[in-house]
């Protein structure tokens, strides 16, 4: 089974890749081209992979790491806007070429990974509400269009893993939420990757167009 992780620079992608490799599954990592340096060409990659007889079972578009919209807009709104524009163009291209690749084969699963932007109100973590809502809308639309090709697309809205946030900040966040009887229970990237891997392992996946919250406590998608 071949799996592709796009822009997988963060700890969740690394942990997920380890799980696939531990099962002797093929994992390839590619940048989301313009987000990084404009050198990668997703379309060409999919064409070359298919020409060699390859077919991806899972494609992950990782939008968790490498940017922080709230901080970027605060610092330099013009640079932030340009970066956002590039990121969303690349996300749509990745969805399109990934879906085309799977539709021409036996189908497959596309997963978009985002950090829950609401967590940043409690701990210092990247907050990307524009990309997140754009990605949620895109996923919900694309899913409706490609379900009949046996291609599913879902989005995980993930609390930043414990490894990426200093422990005292989690404690502070947990304590400040005490009044609601809801507490953050920070999860490691490894734990999060276990859940993602479980979804990839489901034989008959019965969800598409879904926004799946991952995290304990208050999450942006669970009300």
């Amino acid at each position: 089974m071949s799996n592709l992780i796009l822009h997988g620079d963060g700890p969740i992608a690394a942990a997920l890749a380890s799980r696939f490799r531990a099962q002797a599954h093929d994992v390839r990592m590619l940048p989301l081209s313009e987000v990084v340096d404009g050198t990668a060409d997703l379309k060409a990659h999919f064409e070359a992979f298919a020409a060699s007889g390859g077919s991806y079972a899972n494609i992950y578009i990782d939008l968790t790491e490498g940017f922080d919209e709230v901080a970027e807009f605060q610092a330099d709104s013009e640079a932030a806007r340009i970066a956002l524009e590039r990121r969303l163009k690349e996300m749509l291209k990745a969805l399109k070429y990934g879906a085309q690749h799977m539709a021409r084969g036996d189908g497959g699963r596309i997963w978009v990974l985002c950090y829950d932007h609401s967590v940043s109100f409690s701990v210092k973590a990247p907050s990307n509400p524009i990309t997140n809502y754009a990605a949620m809308a895109a996923v919900q639309c694309v899913a409706k269009e490609i379900a009949h090709f046996n291609v599913t697309v879902n989005l995980f809205m993930i609390h930043p893993p414990s490894d990426t946030v200093e422990a005292p900040l989690w404690r502070q966040a947990r304590d400040s939420l005490h009044v609601y009887r809801l507490k953050y229970k920070p999860q490691s990237a490894s734990q999060v990757s276990e859940l993602l891997h479980m979804y990839a392992s489901i034989g008959q996946l019965s969800t598409t167009g879904g926004v799946i919250p991952v995290g304990s406590g208050i999450a942006v998608c669970n009300f």
């Binding site: 709104s77 956002l84 749509l92 932007h117 990307n128 509400p129 895109a138 639309c141 694309v142 269009e145």
Partner: protein, 250 residues
Amino acid sequence: MNAIIVTGGTRGIGRAIVDALADRLLAKEPDLGEARLVVTYRSEKAHAEALAAALRSKGIVADVLGMDLASGESIDAFVGQMRENYGAVRALINNAGATYDGSFLSMSDEGMGKLIESNLSGTIRLTEGLLPLLRAANPAAVVFIASAAGVYGKAGQVPYATTKGGLIGYTQLLARRCVRQNIFVNAVAPGFIATDMVAKLDPIMYEPILHNAALQKMGAPEDVAHVVYGLLKPGYVQATTIKVDGGHLR
């Protein structure tokens, strides 16, 4: 003098918003204060002239100006004009937007990219450019006209919904940045509204969707305008997106 800006205000939902505001300005609604309407259009000068004439006949003096969200120069020129002519912007209603619909798998990268540049990035560029004038109004309101497609998705509208979802996210981001600045930032997400754009569609495109709405009918542009006007008043509504979609049950 304060300005109240409505982008893409010569037709459809934008026109209904302009008409509602004109009526309230004529009635000297205290919530709006002394302000002058500024309406933008992209290319259809005839519609712009018709609007200006209609407003004049009501006794409203308004600026009806060309501005294209797809052009950074056009946006910057408009912002420059506003800075030159007005001391503050009491309200900015970001209504202008384009579509690029069709089968996602056969769309061009260029077409998708252009829609992101205009609908989302252009709207952000305009809003960021006007922020100093919005801060000066105290209070001020920013309303983004998003879309139900940006909330729960719609087949055939991937890039459009992506840009509208992005605006919903920017609504939250901007509200967070404007904390304690007395700027109220919200979005409205219309469902199927009886505009020229929808009139061109085959009913088979929307009838099954209307059937899924609690009210089981199409909305009117005035329904959206009514909600937008409510969001211009200072209050406790902030960073949210209000659906005006007849109660879609999914």
